[in-house]
């Protein structure tokens, strides 16, 4: 199966063609918003971090910023910094250039002389980039060029019965096509990590799976907290999920049935054509999705039981539920109804349709989160989400 996408100078293939206005810190975020509001074809997000962080925490932020700029859905990036933040412009630019050679411009608010002067410069840069981007013609590419991020949020028992099962079917097919599928959410491996570990391609990958799970639990214990406080969430429980183990055993269905080839740290660059891989991300949806998109995922498939609107600034998010009541209630937000799997539907047929939809979204079909204009996101912290 093929799709129509955009070839980037670094050899990767995008499924969207946007210009990113990248705020290097929280202090540059509103200026970035003002800039992006003036340029149709650009996108930005509210970066709540970028300053006053300890080194390991700042590294997550740097990796997400660099990864967003490098994500092949982005034609080019205008970095906007305040000037005095810890994520200094030269550091951000260096981190981006280590990942990609795509168009890159920079504006420092304190040097330009404030928001309006910085905006004037940055709007011109962004407008030029949007014009250049619009000249690109789409080309046909095999599905093996895709890196799919998988996520579940607002889960209920139908996630493990149907929606994650269908995502797992898609994952198996993407892997069979030669592409990459990312399984994420380390907190939701807890109680199911032995199943993933038994599918590890090498002893090193097996050890890494246990390592990221134990590291996550210990990191929270260091600050006197337990991962079970807050996970499962009140909504998970109202839906019928009782324990974290039960949630995890449903969650890992998103990884399908193929061997786990690699374990990546949060927001690090993921290799294309790698098969099924794991990324160490929090269970918190917007920050987990951000990590995978920074890793290069062009598309995210996202299951929900309770119903959630979450999108992403630069990657289309395909929403899927296994709960027939939620689909009926929130179909403005949800793209795919997987509930027939519970009621005797054929997984192969649903898998065929889902793969076709994924190829259509890769070729430009708007998901519901995109058509509603969602750009919310978060970045993982060292004292992490659960």
């Amino acid at each position: 199966m093929n799709f129509y996408g955009y070839r980037r100078p670094d050899g990767r293939v995008g499924v969207r063609n946007m210009v990113l206005i990248l705020p290097a810190s929280v202090c540059a975020s509103d200026t970035a918003r003002i800039i992006s509001s003036q340029v149709v074809g650009s996108v930005t997000f509210n970066n709540q971090l970028g300053c006053s962080q300890v080194a390991s925490d700042q590294q997550y932020t740097m990796d997400v910023m660099a990864g967003y700029a490098a994500n092949p859905n982005v034609y080019g990036t205008v970095v906007v910094s305040l000037g005095c933040e810890n994520c200094q412009m030269d550091l951000v630019v260096k981190a981006i250039e280590e990942r990609t050679n795509k168009p890159l411009k920079q504006v420092i608010i304190q040097e330009a002389g404030g928001t309006i002067k910085a905006a004037e410069i940055a709007v011109r840069y962004a407008k030029e980039m949007v014009e250049e981007a619009s000249l690109l013609q789409k080309e046909e590419f095999p599905m093996s060029e895709l890196i799919i991020g998988t996520e579940c949020g607002g889960s209920d028992p139908t996630s493990g019965l149907a929606a994650n099962v269908l995502i797992g079917e898609l994952s198996d097919r993407i892997v069979a096509e030669g592409g990459t599928s990312i399984l994420s959410e380390t907190t939701e491996f807890i109680g199911a990590e032995h199943i993933l570990a038994s599918r590890a391609a090498t002893p090193e990958v097996r050890d890494r799976i246990f390592e990221i799970v134990h590291r996550y639990e210990k990191a929270l214990q260091l600050v006197g907290e337990e991962v079970r406080e807050g996970n499962p969430s009140p909504g998970n429980k109202a839906g019928g999920i009782t324990t974290l183990e039960e949630k995890s055993l449903g969650c890992i269905h998103k990884g399908g049935h193929t061997p786990v080839m690699e374990v990546y740290d949060y927001a690090k660059q993921v290799e294309a054509k790698k098969g099924l891989v794991i990324m160490d991300t929090p269970g918190n949806d917007p920050s987990s999705v951000a990590g995978m998109v920074a890793g290069g995922a062009q598309i995210v498939v996202f299951s929900t039981g309770r119903g959630t609107p979450t999108g992403n600034p630069i990657a289309p998010v395909i929403k899927i539920t296994g709960n027939k009541l939620t689909y009926a209630k929130m179909s403005d937000n949800i793209d795919v109804d997987a509930s027939p799997i519970i009621y005797g539907g054929e997984l192969k047929k649903l898998g065929d349709d889902f793969l076709k939809l994924t190829a259509e979204v890769a070729s430009g079909r708007k998901t519901k989160a995109e058509s509603l204009g969602f750009t919310e996101m978060a970045i993982a912290r060292v004292c992490n989400f659960v």
Partner: protein
Amino acid sequence: MQNAMIIDSRDNVIVAIEPIAKGDTVTWMCDGKENTLAALQDITIYHKIACRDIAKGMPVIKYGEHIGIAVADIKAGEHVHIHNVEGHRENLEAKVK
């Protein structure tokens, strides 16, 4: 009418796939065979029902795996949820060679 399902034949809980009222017959298929029991409580759709008696302190099994420990004696037909099950951290590394 099938109003529940079992995920793995080793499970001691089944999942309601329709709303179930106290006294209703709960019907599910396992290995091609129809099974029934009487619901002892109202069960919200997609919540769990014990399909066997589970003694206090014994593992609750879904997906063929332990999802927690029963903190009370649970009778077949009872609602299984946060009031009678708690999560329990096991050493799972020992399960993988």
